[in-house]
């Protein structure tokens, strides 16, 4: 599925023609445009919708685009929404200030549909990756802060770059995150990686518990890759 599908994109611009133009291009991208022409409407709109990206005109009466940007970046729940500034050719200095204040990019008016679409798509996709990274960090923190230590007898059934399957004598709850001190990880010199339970399926003599490996470094992944290659190496006669 297209990553930009059904995302809400908020546009704040006092120029009706520019609002209309952005509306059409956002619609063509398969996203939903939410258009406002006054800074005062911003907070209510952010509260009412889940916004994936904000397009903000630099030159507006009342609160300037820079002031609006500062306010967005001060609110923890909104500060990670990418903001793209819409600007005329004459606003070079303001653009620099906006980027320093946390704007992700800028688009020079008049809006070129191709450039607009390219930049917005890229930012939405990048933000998706950032969200994924945040999730991994969250899961690691959750596992680190857990106070329950589980003593579990488990045997490594198989291991890949994305996950590990353990054979256990009883099922583990789905979504549970824990640190593994399996001997295999000691041998590979991977320090107790966090695992997240995806499923527990009954099998002969117990359960196969599939887990996702969270937040492994590239060097850890290389070790697993090498381990698998060595295991799969044909035995010499």
């Amino acid at each position: 599925m297209n990553q930009s599908q059904s995302k809400n994109i908020l546009v704040l611009d006092d120029n009706k023609n520019d609002l209309l133009m952005t509306k059409f291009v956002i619609m063509r991208m398969g996203c939903k445009p939410i258009l406002i022409d006054k800074s005062a409407q911003l907070i209510a709109t952010l509260q009412a919708h889940t916004i994936s990206l904000i397009l903000l005109d630099l030159d507006m009466p009342g609160l300037s685009g820079i002031e609006v940007l500062k306010r967005i970046k001060r609110v923890p729940s909104y500060k990670n929404i990418p903001v793209v500034m819409l600007t005329g050719h004459s606003d070079a200095l303001n653009v620099k200030t906006a980027i320093q204040l946390g704007a992700s990019d800028y688009i020079v008016k008049p809006i070129d549909p191709m450039i607009f679409e390219g930049k917005i798509k890229r930012l939405i996709e990048t933000n998706q990756t950032i969200t994924q990274k945040d999730w991994i960090e969250y899961e690691i923190k959750k596992a680190q802060s857990t106070e329950v230590k589980l003593t579990y007898i488990a045997q490594v059934f198989s291991i890949g770059e994305m996950g590990i399957t353990l054979k256990t004598n009883q099922p583990l709850p789905r979504e549970m995150t824990f640190f593994s001190d399996a001997e295999l990880f000691n041998e590979l010199e991977i320090a107790q990686p966090p695992l997240k339970v995806e499923s527990s399926v009954p099998c002969e003599g117990g359960y196969l518990v599939k887990c996702t490996l969270i937040g492994l470094s590239e060097s850890d992944l290389k070790k697993i890759r090498l381990f698998n290659q060595l295991l799969m190496r044909p035995v010499n006669p």
């Binding site: 120029n15 009706k16 209309l20 133009m21 059409f24 549909p113």
Partner: protein
Amino acid sequence: MSFYNEKYKNQLSLDLTKLEPLFQLGRELDEDVVSELVKTHCETVTVQLKQIEILFETKNFIQVRSEAHKLKSSAATLGLNKLYRMCIDLESYLQNPSTACAPVVNAYITGITIEFNLTKLMLNNMQTQVGA
């Protein structure tokens, strides 16, 4: 010949190549994108020009500059190159405004108003031809 006729004689009043991506956008969305943009442009610029005249009367050149800035964007979107150029030049001329600017600003406002009325007709004619 007025100064704007001479200064902008090489600029196209209506650059149809700029409209092609908008027609394409309309075909893909199955919406009359160009008509909607033209309608909004005509409505907003009519109001903006009235506002500019009032601001000029009160010698509020900073706000005249701000209105010219807004107007240029929708002119450029619709391929109104001459109108766009005039707005840029007025905006630039009013970078450091003073009362001495009044005659030149007045000439720009006259030029912009004439050009807007002319391009409005051209856009309407074009739409009639496209629709026929």
